[in-house]
Amino acid sequence: MGKFAKEFAKGLILSNPVFVLALGLCPTLAISTSIDNALGMTLAVLIVLLGSNIIIASIRRYVPDITRIPIFIVIIATLVTVVNLIFHAYLPDTYESLGIFLPLVVVNCIILGRAEAFASKSPVLHSIADALGITIGFMLALLMISFIRQILGTGNLSVFGFDFGTLPVLGEHPIVAFVLPYGAFLVIGLLMALFRRTGVMKGE
């Protein structure tokens, strides 16, 4: 069980996919305009990563080395298709606002990266821990960025229709720059620098 906990914990900070490994940047920056989107994206990545890690770890002995990448990609693409259909049917609003980035989960480097670097060499249980840890690390990064962007860019705090109130000054005069595309680059750049400055994460 100790190994399970270790694989789980490393994804949170030490190899946080976004801030440390700089993987999966495209969806992180594109959909972090609101907390709703961040949670929707996390759910999609959780289902796909968990599914692909479990399947790939269980078939790892039967996959020939030369054709492994195409096999992994087809497994991931099938799971992404399933997630797309589920979101379209049960979460139509999230499906609309994630737009093209929901099908693009298939080329998210985090998922193929974990399949190649971890699940193809590890037993199923460790691969589950790895998937959960990496997804939570991804979620933390997404929530941090989207929280800052939503608060500063729109001035209100609503999550899936529940309104937690509007901020006094920002509510009337939001800093729209933060929900525009270039605001995403600014927020992630400053957050990364802050983590390095405070020593939470290593610099170059």
Binding site: A22, T81, P103, M192, A193
Partner: protein, 191 residues
């Protein structure tokens, strides 16, 4: 004709793949340290995007839509792109060795570049005509190359600049991207 020009300008400047749509960021931050490789990468991506757009347009309109299996598009597109990249790699290796070495590792990596799958999915959702998708792919590729080249030029100078320790590398690259994005926002009113 006007429609095609609008698609082209929209793809290059207004909805720039990197700065506005956030597609293809991995090569953007990974490759953009030197001008030469950045331009090679841009050309390789443009090339694959155009061929992939042609192939997926044909598959979508002659196989997926007639048989009503459009929900299979993600699996089929990614397979088509992976196969195309392999074929292009073999073809270039046999015909033009110099070009093959210039592309190097970047060519096989294009399969997992979200810009390529992105353009095929955008073509499908916008329902562009055949010419429209080709022009869209060319425009998107040109916009990608343009920003990649600009970024690498800036980063070559940044290497020599006295940046704070915590900002070195990726963080300062993100801040540079912010400023580029702000500049590209000015193109918004063109169409």
């Amino acid at each position: 004709m006007n429609e095609l020009i609008a698609i082209f300008i929209g793809m290059v400047l207004i909805n720039n793949f990197i700065l506005v749509r956030f597609l293809g960021l991995c090569p953007y931050f990974g490759v953009s340290k030197k001008l030469g490789p950045a331009i090679s990468m841009g050309i390789a991506v443009t090339f694959v995007m155009t061929i992939a757009s042609i192939a997926t347009w044909l598959i979508r309109n002659y196989i997926l839509i007639p048989f009503d299996i459009e929900y299979m598009n993600i699996v089929i597109y990614i397979l088509v792109i992976a196969t195309l990249v392999q074929i292009i790699e073999l073809f270039i290796k046999k015909t033009n060795m110099a070009l093959y070495f210039a592309f190097g590792i970047y060519l096989p990596l294009i399969t997992t570049n979200c810009a390529v799958l992105g353009i095929t999915l955008i073509n499908a959702t916008k329902n562009y005509s055949f010419l429209g998708s080709v022009v869209a792919a060319l425009g998107a590729g040109l916009g990608f190359t343009l920003v990649l080249a600009m970024m690498s030029g800036i980063r070559e100078k940044l290497e020599l600049a006295n940046t704070p320790k915590a900002m070195k590398g990726l963080p300062i690259a993100f801040i540079t991207a912010t400023l580029l994005g702000l500049a590209f926002l000015g193109f918004g009113g063109m169409i």
